[in-house]
């Protein structure tokens, strides 16, 4: 059941990305071009998602069990530390370079676009690289 639910969630999430144009890199770059000719649309994507999210997460806050069983796995990290800040800044640079973040990257692959494949393969390599670095250095 949990696997089917995850598949459904992926589908709904992906439809949301397509409908909102988050999966169109030009649209994302238009939003990030704050100092040029700015397209505020994506602020409304965030508004819609966070709006419904706030209502939902607030009402689920007291639950200790997921509807399909098992614990509610909330992130436990609280620290505002160097990895959080440097990682997020690096993420934003990559996002600004291509106009693609992880979810839309997968949607582009699913649309059969070679550009999406290049992006996602590089993204997986970047994740692998960070796993190596986390093991080898104390920097992060």
């Amino acid at each position: 059941m949990k696997v089917l639910l995850s598949l459904l969630v992926g589908l709904v999430f992906g439809l949301g990305l397509i409908l909102s144009s988050m999966s169109n890199p030009a649209k994302v770059l238009g939003f990030l071009d704050l100092f040029g000719s700015w397209d505020p649309s994506l602020a409304l994507v965030m508004g819609g998602a966070v709006g419904i999210g706030m209502l939902g997460f607030a009402s689920l806050r007291k639950r200790s069990q997921a509807l399909l069983g098992g614990p509610m796995m909330l992130p436990t990290a609280r620290a505002i530390d160097r990895p959080l800040v440097t990682g997020s800044v690096v993420f934003g640079i990559g996002w600004g370079l291509g106009g693609i973040c992880p979810g839309p990257g997968l949607v582009l692959v699913g649309s059969g676009l070679g550009e999406g494949v290049v992006f996602v393969v590089a993204m997986l390599a970047g994740m692998g690289l960070s796993a190596l670095l986390k093991r080898r250095s104390k920097l992060f």
């Binding site: 999430f13 992906g14 965030m46 998602a49 966070v50 509807l67 990682g87 800044v89 290049v118």
Partner: protein
């Protein structure tokens, strides 16, 4: 700054946002999991139990199949990618590396974290928004 009203699509943006938020809530309510795309993918690269790998793979499969499902009902919207191969390669590396070090991306920190009123996610979101704005400024207005 000037607002590009011609490109502004408030209704589809808000509606798509609602779907994204709904998906995140479904995953949390039913499975007790946070819909952070980078963390879900990242978990597939680690050694985990079959059940852990299965729900993650199913979520990724859903994202991959979404365009085909959409195309059953309406024509897929046009996609415009201005970055060339090299820039996409570098962008992907930085996105994967950064999301992994920073424990999240636009969905995990931006949607779920902000919805949960997490200060940590607010800081992350402000950081990647700021560096995203700065990067586009640099490439569109300073470099050209």
């Amino acid at each position: 700054m000037s607002i590009d009203w011609a490109s502004f699509t408030p209704f589809s943006a808000f509606g798509g946002g609602l779907l994204i938020g709904l998906a995140a809530l479904m995953l949390f309510a039913f499975n007790g999991r946070i819909a952070g795309v980078s963390s879900i993918i990242g978990g597939l690269l680690e050694r985990r139990t079959p059940a852990e790998l299965a729900w993650r793979a199913a979520f990724v499969l859903g994202l991959l199949l979404a365009p085909s499902l959409y195309a059953l009902f309406a024509e897929l919207p046009a996609v415009d990618i201005e970055a060339g191969w090299l820039r996409l390669l570098i962008a992907g590396l930085l996105v994967g590396f950064g999301a992994s070090i920073g424990s999240g991306c636009t969905s995990g920190h931006g949607v779920c974290g902000l919805s949960r009123l997490s200060l940590r996610s607010l800081v992350a979101t402000l950081c990647f928004m700021a560096s995203g704005f700065a990067t586009v400024y640099l490439f569109r207005h300073l470099a050209s």
